[in-house]
């Protein structure tokens, strides 16, 4: 049975496309056959992050119009043959596709792929509705900020109403030093509101910016070269059913922070 997972957030810019690219690549590295679909019609980015922009010939729109076959539109990654990308059209808008059409596309992909990852656009309008229509599971991405969490909460409600019950949470761009100083929401604060199972925590990492610009997903870099890369690989292991403890992202201990933590603990 193929797993069909939509990666969504509500808020824009929290890391949906980055996570889709990296999770897809990491799953493919483990030997799974993975298809990633860019559902952000008009503002497509998944191809950039995977470094496949100049190999796109056909997009999902041409497949739906019958102008080409599905396998002609799928871009196979030369670095990792298990991974294929179905690009979105850049010259159209979110209304170019309907939920039923998305279900058809995903249904066809699910025949030959172990995982179908759908990169959802930001917002809760037509683009989002299209992305969640075929999904059986969802990965909710949020940053530890009040606005992102609020939007994620809205999205969880909409997913529940659409019968997508299996949900996973990724807290992205965490800055442990700021959490320590009570300047940023902690993972626990986020879970307090969202109450969905935690899939993983990815720390804020400069290397993500570099990998985006190069079109090389972080998980392809050398093992252990970046904390975010390790976290993403752990997430993939958890997705596959392994029990992996969360990374210890805490700042090195010093007397002052230990004292502060002691007092915080006694108050809650």
């Amino acid at each position: 049975m193929s797993r069909i997972i939509v990666i969504t957030s509500g808020k824009g810019g929290v890391g949906k496309t980055t996570c889709t690219a990296n999770l897809g690549m990491a799953l493919a590295k483990r030997g799974r056959k993975v298809a990633v679909i860019d559902a952000d019609f008009g503002l497509r980015n998944l191809d950039l992050l995977l470094g496949l922009e100049n190999r796109i010939v056909y997009t999902a729109v041409e497949v739906l119009a019958g102008e080409c076959r599905l396998d002609q539109a799928l871009v196979k990654d030369k670095r990792q043959p298990n991974l294929a990308l179905l690009p979105a059209a850049q010259n159209r808008t979110k209304d170019a596709v309907t939920p039923d059409q998305m279900k058809k596309l995903v249904g066809a992909l699910a025949q030959s792929y172990d995982y179908v990852l759908i990169d959802s656009p930001a917002g809760i309008e037509m683009g989002f509705q299209n992305a969640i229509a075929p999904a059986k599971e969802a990965i909710i991405i949020t940053t530890p900020e009040i606005s992102a969490v609020r939007d994620a909460d809205r999205v969880v409600g909409l997913l529940e109403a659409n019968d997508v019950r299996r949900m996973h949470l990724i807290v992205n761009r965490l800055r442990p030093a700021m959490v320590e100083k009570d300047m940023m929401m902690s993972v626990k604060d986020v879970q307090e509101i969202l109450s969905i199972p935690l899939l993983g925590v990815v720390p804020d990492d400069e290397k993500v910016i570099i990998s985006t610009n190069r079109g090389e997903p972080l998980v392809l870099a050398e093992e252990g070269s970046s904390l975010a890369g390790i976290a993403l690989n752990n997430i993939v292991r958890r997705l596959e059913g392994e029990r992996v403890p969360l990374l210890d992202l805490n700042v090195p201990d010093d007397l002052f922070s230990r004292v502060r933590r002691f007092f915080k603990g006694s108050q809650s």
């Binding site: 969880v156 909409l158 108050q267």
Partner: protein, 265 residues
């Protein structure tokens, strides 16, 4: 020890403009109502409201009510759909029937005042009764008695609005961005973080109770209040009620004792 904790009523009403809140119109949302061994599924009227709901909104409300009420329904309870003047086509009726059967309920009959809906229902194999506006049902809706309490067993997420012409009980949290507007009391067995209005039809003796009172805003009848700027260190179950011309919050353990010795407003 002063058990009242909230922004003093005078400060609260100065800083928030009083907004006349329309009473919870009984027909404004999708509602289930138990009646003699069957369930009525009431849809809001299309023409009686200024802002009629779209099919998408009706569908989402139906799913929310279905998801949050499963524990009490017996399997295979028959459901009568009171569609009123709503226009529904065959596909929508089938979707409703499917959603109900996923919750082990059976759509048996459709009451409608629109000919097209009646035709679609008959084509879908349902028994139909076509009326020109069901006046006897409308009369019970406009009466003074509150509807039976609405019991919701789910966390209310941001963006969800529950309106009910009666008391609302929530087994779960209400997240910021959600709102409950009830003609009766509101009880939240969890954290109350969203917006809540009790006594929406004007009854200021209604109360709001929560295990953790962390609201964005609470309203009772025409009174409005917000939580104090600095949250307490520890949360206790609390009751919000109108007293002395404003909303006060009292600890639950103190509240019943106060009720015995004082007269409420």
């Amino acid at each position: 020890m002063n058990s009242d904790s909230l922004v003093p009523a005078s400060v609260a009403s100065d800083s928030i403009p009083t907004m006349p809140q329309p009473p919870a119109v009984p027909q404004a949302q999708v509602r289930f109502k138990g009646e003699e061994g069957r369930l009525l599924l009431l849809l809001p009227s299309e023409t009686e409201n200024d802002s009629a709901l779209t099919w998408m909104e009706i569908w989402q409300q139906l799913k929310q009510r279905l998801n949050s009420g499963e524990r009490f329904w017996q399997p295979q309870t028959p459901v009568h759909l009171i569609a009123r003047d709503r226009l529904l086509d065959g596909r929508q009726l089938q979707d409703i029937a499917d959603a109900l059967s996923n919750a082990e309920l059976q759509l048996k009959r459709v009451y409608t005042s629109r000919r097209q809906t009646a035709v679609a229902a008959v084509s879908a194999g349902l028994s139909v009764e076509q009326h020109s506006l069901l006046t006897h049902l409308n009369q019970t809706e406009n009466g003074q008695a509150l509807a039976e309490p609405l019991y919701i067993q789910t966390t209310l997420r941001s963006g969800i609005e529950i309106r009910h012409p009666g008391t609302v009980i929530v087994l779960g949290d209400t997240n910021p961005g959600s709102s409950i507007i009830a003609n009766g009391d509101v009880l939240v067995w969890g954290a109350l973080r969203g917006l809540v209005q009790a006594g929406a039809a004007g009854n200021a003796s209604c109360m709001i109770m929560a295990l953790r009172m962390e609201p964005t805003q609470i309203r009772i009848a025409d009174f409005v209040a917000r939580a104090p700027e600095s949250p307490p260190n520890q949360y206790h179950p609390e009751v919000a009620h109108v007293s002395g011309g404003g909303i006060r919050i009292t600890r639950a353990i103190d509240f019943s004792k106060n009720q015995l010795t004082n007269d409420l407003v």
